[in-house]
C-alpha cells in the first residue's frame, strides 16, 4: 500500500508576497496574515514549522462552520426556467436556447411557478433574504409569467413578513417599458448578457432570425433602466472566447453603455468546441484579466468603485475570508426548477438525471445527500490537496469535466493576484472595510 507523504497531504497554507510585504494564507478558513521578512525566510526554509504554525492558525473559531461537514439547508433561493426558447442563437449557449436538448420543450405555466414559489416561501429561513430568479431561454419570452410570479411572490412575502428578492438574466432584446417598471419597482438583480462592443457581441450572439443588430436592440431597450434603475441593480455579463480575450476592451465597452459593473467568464468546453479556451489560451486570458484588474485597482486607490465584477467579488470574498467546500449553492440552498416543475441542483443541468433532486412537493433527501457528498471539494481528487480549494471550491460542477492543469493554474494565478492586490490595498489589523 502506498504511504502518504506530506507531499500528498492537503496544503494547509500558501505563502505569497505583495508590494506590501510577505504574507501567509492559512487555507482552512482563508485567514491572511502579514509576516516580517526575516520570519518568512525562516519559515520557507522549514516546512514543518510552517505547517505547525498554519495548523494552529487554521483552527476553527467561534461562528465558523467545520469545513468537512455536509450541510443540507432548506432552499433559500430558486431559479425558474420559465422560457424554453430564445430569440438569439449564441454559439456557446449551455441551455440550447432554452430547450436543453429537447428536455424542456414548452414554457413554464403559472401553476408550476406558483407551486415552486409557495414551496420556497414555506421552507426558506425567515430571517434571511429569499431569492427567486428567472432564467430560460430568454426569460422575457414568457414575460407574463415573470410579472405574475413577481407580483404574487411580493404580496405573499409581504403578507408573511419575508424579504423576497428577484433576479433575472436577460439578453435585453425583448424588454418592454412595463418590464422595466417591474424591475424598478422590486429588489431585482438584473444581469444583461452582452459580450462587449457591437462587433464582438453580434458575432458571438447572433439573432436567430438572421437579422443584424442584436447589440443595438438590447442596448436601446436596457438604456431606460440604466438611466433610472429604481430598486434594480444592473450588471453586464460577457462571455470571453479564445478568439478575443481582451477583457479590458470588453469592460470598457460595457461601462461606456452605463453599466455600473460588468463581469466576464471564459468559455470552457471540449477542446474542439468553437471558441472554448485551449491549454495555451489560459495564460493569455489570465494576463488579460489581471491587466483589466490593475486598472480597476488604480481606480480603487483613487476612491472610485471597482467595475469589474470578478475583481470586486474576489476582493470582498478575500476580505471576509470566504471559505467553502462548494463553489456555489447548487443542491444546498439553491435549486433550479424546470419548466415541467422538476427541481434540479443547478440551472445548467436541467434534464440531467444526476442533478434532479425532486419537485415542489419535496426534495429527494437521499439523492441530495449523495449529490452533496460527491461534490464536496474534499471528494475531488484534483482539488483536495490544492491550497486554493476553499476559495475556488473546484469551480462550476458543470465545468468540472473540462478542468485541466492549465485552467487550474489560471485559477491559482488569478487568486494569487487578488490576494496580493488585497494586501496592497492596506487595511490589515484595523479590520475596517476600506473597500
Amino acid at each position: 500500500m502506498p504511504i502518504a507523504t506530506t507531499r500528498d497531504a492537503p496544503a494547509i497554507s500558501h505563502r505569497f508576497h505583495s508590494a506590501a510585504g510577505e504574507h501567509l494564507l492559512v487555507v482552512p478558513f482563508s485567514r491572511i496574515f502579514d509576516i516580517p521578512g526575516h520570519d518568512a525566510v525562516a519559515l520557507d526554509a522549514d516546512p514543518d514549522a510552517l505547517r505547525a504554525l498554519a495548523t494552529s492558525l487554521g483552527q476553527i473559531a467561534p461562528g465558523e462552520a467545520a469545513l468537512d461537514q455536509i450541510v443540507e439547508p432548506e432552499p433559500q433561493s430558486i431559479s425558474l426556467n420559465i422560457s424554453s426558447s430564445c430569440n438569439l442563437g449564441c454559439t456557446y449557449c449551455y441551455a440550447d436556447k432554452g430547450s436543453f436538448g429537447g428536455v424542456q420543450s414548452a414554457p413554464m405555466t403559472w401553476p408550476i411557478a406558483q407551486a415552486a414559489t409557495d414551496r420556497l416561501l414555506a421552507v426558506a429561513q425567515r430571517d434571511r433574504p429569499i431569492t427567486i430568479g428567472f432564467l430560460g431561454g430568454e426569460p422575457f419570452a414568457n414575460r407574463a409569467l415573470i410579472h405574475q410570479t413577481v407580483n404574487y411572490a411580493s404580496a405573499e412575502g409581504h403578507r408573511r413578513g419575508l424579504d423576497v428578492r428577484f433576479s433575472v438574466t436577460t439578453n435585453g432584446t425583448l424588454l418592454r417599458p412595463a418590464d422595466l417598471d417591474l424591475m424598478r419597482g422590486h429588489p431585482f438583480a438584473v444581469t444583461v448578457s452582452l459580450d462587449g462592443a457591437a462587433d464582438v457581441n453580434d458575432t458571438q450572439r447572433p439573432m436567430r432570425n438572421g437579422r443584424p443588430g442584436g447589440w443595438a436592440l438590447a442596448t436601446a431597450r436596457v438604456s431606460g433602466l440604466l438611466v433610472d434603475p429604481g430598486q434594480a441593480k444592473l450588471a453586464a455579463r460577457a462571455t470571453v472566447t479564445r478568439h478575443d480575450m481582451d477583457v479590458s476592451a470588453r469592460l470598457r465597452a460595457l461601462v461606456d453603455l452605463g453599466f455600473p459593473e460588468a463581469g466576464v467568464a471564459p468559455l470552457r468546453g471540449a477542446p474542439d468546441e468553437a471558441g472554448a479556451l485551449r491549454e495555451a489560451d489560459w495564460t493569455v486570458y489570465l494576463h488579460e484579466l489581471i491587466r483589466a484588474s490593475r486598472a480597476e485597482l488604480a481606480r480603487l486607490r483613487r476612491g472610485l468603485p471597482v467595475r469589474l465584477t470578478n475583481f470586486a467579488v474576489a476582493l470582498k470574498q478575500i476580505h471576509r475570508g470566504a471559505c467553502s467546500p462548494y463553489p456555489c449553492g447548487a443542491g444546498g440552498g439553491y435549486f433550479s426548477v424546470s419548466a415541467g416543475g422538476r427541481w434540479y441542483a443547478c440551472h445548467r443541468a436541467i434534464g440531467d438525471p444526476a442533478f434532479e433532486m425532486g419537485s415542489s412537493d419535496g426534495l429527494d433527501t437521499v439523492r441530495r445527500r449523495r449529490f452533496l457528498e460527491d461534490r464536496h471539494v474534499h471528494a475531488q481528487t484534483d482539488c483536495r490537496t490544492c491550497w486554493a480549494r476553499y476559495l475556488c471550491s473546484g469551480g462550476c460542477h458543470q465545468e468540472a469535466a473540462s478542468r485541466t492543469a492549465e485552467s487550474c493554474d489560471f485559477v491559482r494565478g488569478w487568486l494569487e493576484f487578488c490576494l496580493a492586490a488585497y494586501c496592497e490595498l492596506g487595511g490589515g489589523q484595523s479590520g475596517g472595510d476600506k473597500r
Binding site: L24, I32, D39, P62, C323, G428
Partner: protein
C-alpha cells in the same frame, strides 16, 4: 523562525482577526508532544489500558539500564534487558559517572552481548509510602500488610520509588559468579517541559498495549464494573449443594480471589485489615476466563434457573391506592427512624481507629439509606399521581404509624430510637422482605403488572421495581452496618447510654419540628403541582434540608444535647399518622 511568533503575525483579513476572538484559543508555542498524545487527553483510567502502558516508563527507573520484570521466572524476576552504553560513555566522559560504575555498566553490557544475564537480587531505596526499604524483589508475596510492610510486587515497588532519591541495586550474574552493586538516583521520566525524557524511544510507551483489557478488572475496583463483574460476590455452590442456608456459603468473598477451588467455602472477604489474596495483575491477563459469572449476587458455575415472581394482586383500584399511600407513609417512617439512629452515633472525627472508620461508614450509609427513602416517597407519589384522574391527586405525605416487622406478615409500631444493636436488627427486618412477594410492594407490583400495557403502566412498573431493588440494597447495607458497629460496645459508639428525646420546650427540638413541617409543606405543594410547575417547590424542599440553616443543622443541634432526635406527631391531617390498610 524566531520564538516570538505571536507578536509578529499581523492578521489582515476578517477571517484572520476572527481566529483571535477567543483569547483562550489564541495560538502560542507549545513545547513537547501534541496535546492529544498526552496522558491527560486519554479516556482510559487504567494503565496498561487504552492509551499507554506506564510500566514502560518504569522499565527505565535506573539510569542507563532497561529492566524487564518477568513473573514467569522464579528467581530473578527483575532482569537487565539492555544497557545504554552511549549514555554511559557520555556521562563518563564528562565526569558525570565514576569510572568504576562505568566499568560495571560495560561489564553487564558485554555479558548481555555474550548471552549471559544479570538479575536484581536486592533493591534498596526510598519507596515512598513504604518508606526506606531493602529487599530481594523475588521475595515479594503479592500482598502487603502490617507495619514495615513491603510493596506487594516488583512493579508496585518500582512505581513507589521517589524520583531523584538514591537507589542501590545489587545485581548478580546468571550464570554465577558475579556481583555488581550500583547506586544512582531514580531516573526522571519527564523533562523540565513535561515531555517524555529523551531516554524513551518513540513508541515505547505504547509498545505493550496487547495486554488484555481484562487487566482492568484488577485495577478498577470499588464497584467500577457492572454488577456481573463485582468486587465481591457470594461463592459458587459446589455439587451437590450444601444444606440451604449453610452460613459458610452465605458470606461474600473476593470475585478475583487467587484460590479458585470450589469444594470448600472460600475465605470470606472481611472489611478489616486483612483481605483475600487476589489473582495477580500479570496472572489475570492469562487467567481471566476463570472468573465466574455473577447472577443475583452469587457466582454461577452451573445452569441458572431464574425464580418466578408471583404475588396476589390487590382486589381493586381503591385498594391499590390505599396500599400505595401506606407505602409512602412507611418510607417516611423509615426515614425518620434512620435519621434518629444516624444522629445517635458519636461524631466520628474525634474517635480512634478502628472506631473512626466504622462510625464514618455507618453514619454515611445510614444517611444514604434515609435519602433513599426520601426518593422512594417521591417515586410512590409519582405513581399515585399517574394513577389519579386529572386534578384528583392528593400528595401522600402522612407518616405510617406502624411498619412491617422482622418476620413476614408481622407489624410493629414506629419507634424513634438510637442505633442500638437491637434497632439495627429491626432495620434489617424492615428492609429484608423488600424483594419478596410478601413485602410492602409485592402486591402493588403484581397489580400494576396485570393492568394493560401502556407507556404509563410500564413507567409505574419500573418505578416500583426500582424501589424494591433499592430496598434490597438497603437490607444488604444494614447487614454491613451491623458488622461494623457490632465489633464495638454500644457505649463506645453511641453519643450517650440510654439516649432520650429532648423535653418539649427544648429550643433545638422546637426548631427541628418547625423546619421539618416547613419542608413537608413545600414538598406537598410541589407534588400537588407536579412537574414542571412544582419543580421550584421541590427544589426548595431539597435545599431546606442542607446546611446548618437547614434540617441538617437542626438535627445536629438536637443531637448535641445529647438528645435523641424526635419527630413529633403532626396534627395537620396531610402529615398525620396513618394506619396500614386492612
Amino acid at each position: 523562525m524566531t520564538d516570538d511568533t505571536r507578536s509578529k503575525l499581523l492578521p489582515r483579513n476578517v477571517a484572520a482577526l476572527r481566529r483571535f476572538q477567543d483569547p483562550a484559543a489564541a495560538p502560542r508555542e507549545v513545547t513537547g508532544n501534541p496535546v492529544m498524545t498526552r496522558l491527560e487527553s486519554g479516556i482510559g483510567n487504567c494503565f496498561p489500558g487504552l492509551e499507554c502502558d506506564l510500566r514502560n516508563l518504569e522499565r527505565r527507573f535506573f539510569p542507563f539500564l532497561e529492566i524487564e520484570i518477568n513473573f514467569s521466572v522464579a528467581q530473578g524476576i527483575m532482569q537487565v534487558a539492555a544497557v545504554d552504553l552511549p549514555g554511559v560513555e557520555a556521562a563518563a566522559g564528562n565526569g558525570g559517572l565514576p569510572a568504576a560504575d562505568a566499568a560495571n555498566y560495560r561489564t553487564i553490557a558485554q555479558d548481555l552481548r555474550n548471552g549471559a544475564g544479570w538479575v536484581v537480587s536486592n533493591i534498596a531505596g526510598d519507596f515512598g509510602p513504604f518508606k526506606q526499604q531493602s529487599f530481594n524483589p523475588d521475595d515479594l508475596t503479592g500482598t502487603s500488610f502490617g507495619n514495615q510492610r513491603l510493596p506487594p510486587e516488583p512493579w508496585a515497588a518500582v512505581r513507589t520509588l521517589v524520583e531523584g532519591a538514591p537507589v542501590t541495586l545489587t545485581l548478580v550474574r546468571r550464570p554465577a559468579p558475579g556481583t555488581i552493586t550500583l547506586t544512582a538516583n531514580r531516573a526522571r521520566y519527564l523533562d523540565d517541559t513535561g515531555a517524555l525524557a529523551r531516554m524513551f524511544q518513540p513508541g515505547e510507551l505504547t509498545q505493550s498495549l496487547c495486554s488484555p483489557w481484562t487487566h482492568d478488572f484488577r485495577d478498577c475496583a470499588c464497584f467500577y464494573w457492572a454488577s456481573n463483574h463485582p468486587d465481591i460476590a457470594l461463592p459458587p455452590l459446589p455439587a451437590p449443594p450444601p444444606a440451604a442456608g449453610d452460613p459458610r456459603w452465605e458470606l461474600a468473598t473476593a470475585w478475583e480471589r487467587a484460590d479458585r477451588s470450589v469444594a470448600t467455602p472460600p475465605v470470606a472477604t472481611q472489611t478489616g485489615s486483612q483481605s483475600v489474596p487476589e489473582i495477580a495483575h500479570h496472572a489475570i491477563n492469562r487467567d481471566w476466563q476463570l472468573l465466574n459469572f455473577v447472577l443475583e449476587r452469587r457466582e454461577r458455575i452451573s445452569d441458572y434457573a431464574p425464580t418466578r415472581f408471583n404475588a396476589v394482586p390487590l382486589p381493586n383500584q381503591a385498594a391499590l391506592l390505599a396500599q400505595l399511600r401506606y407505602a409512602a407513609g412507611v418510607e417516611i417512617a423509615a426515614m425518620q427512624e434512620y435519621l434518629t439512629a444516624a444522629w445517635s452515633l458519636r461524631p466520628a472525627a474525634a474517635q480512634p481507629e478502628p472506631l473512626l472508620g466504622d462510625l464514618t461508614a455507618a453514619f454515611d450509609e445510614m444517611l444514604r439509606i434515609a435519602i433513599g427513602e426520601m426518593r422512594h416517597v417521591r417515586a410512590v407519589n409519582d405513581v399515585l399521581a399517574s394513577l389519579s384522574p386529572p386534578g384528583g391527586f392528593t400528595p401522600a405525605l402522612a407518616v405510617a404509624a406502624q411498619v412491617p416487622g422482622a418476620t413476614i406478615g408481622s407489624i410493629r409500631p414506629v419507634e424513634l430510637r438510637a442505633a442500638t444493636k437491637a434497632a439495627i436488627d429491626d432495620f434489617i427486618g424492615l428492609e429484608a422482605p423488600s424483594q419478596s412477594v410478601d413485602g410492602l410492594y409485592g402486591r402493588i407490583l403484581e397489580t400494576l403488572m396485570q393492568s394493560p400495557e401502556t407507556t404509563e403502566q410500564q413507567e409505574r412498573v419500573q418505578t416500583v421495581r426500582t424501589v424494591m431493588a433499592e430496598g434490597q440494597d438497603h437490607w444488604e447495607t444494614f447487614l454491613a452496618i451491623k458488622e461494623w458497629l457490632g465489633r464495638h460496645a454500644e457505649a463506645d459508639y453511641l453519643r450517650a447510654p440510654n439516649l432520650q428525646g429532648p423535653p418539649q420546650n427544648n429550643a433545638a427540638h422546637q426548631e427541628l419540628q418547625r423546619r421539618y413541617v416547613g419542608l413537608l409543606e413545600r414538598l406537598y405543594s410541589g407534588y400537588q403541582q407536579g412537574i414542571p410547575k412544582g419543580a421550584a417547590d421541590i427544589a426548595a424542599a431539597r435545599g431546606s434540608m442542607l446546611g446548618q440553616g437547614g434540617l441538617q443543622g437542626a438535627l445536629d443541634a438536637v443531637a448535641a444535647g445529647p438528645f435523641l432526635v424526635i419527630f413529633d406527631p403532626i396534627a395537620d391531617p396531610r402529615f398525620a399518622a396513618i394506619q396500614p390498610p386492612p
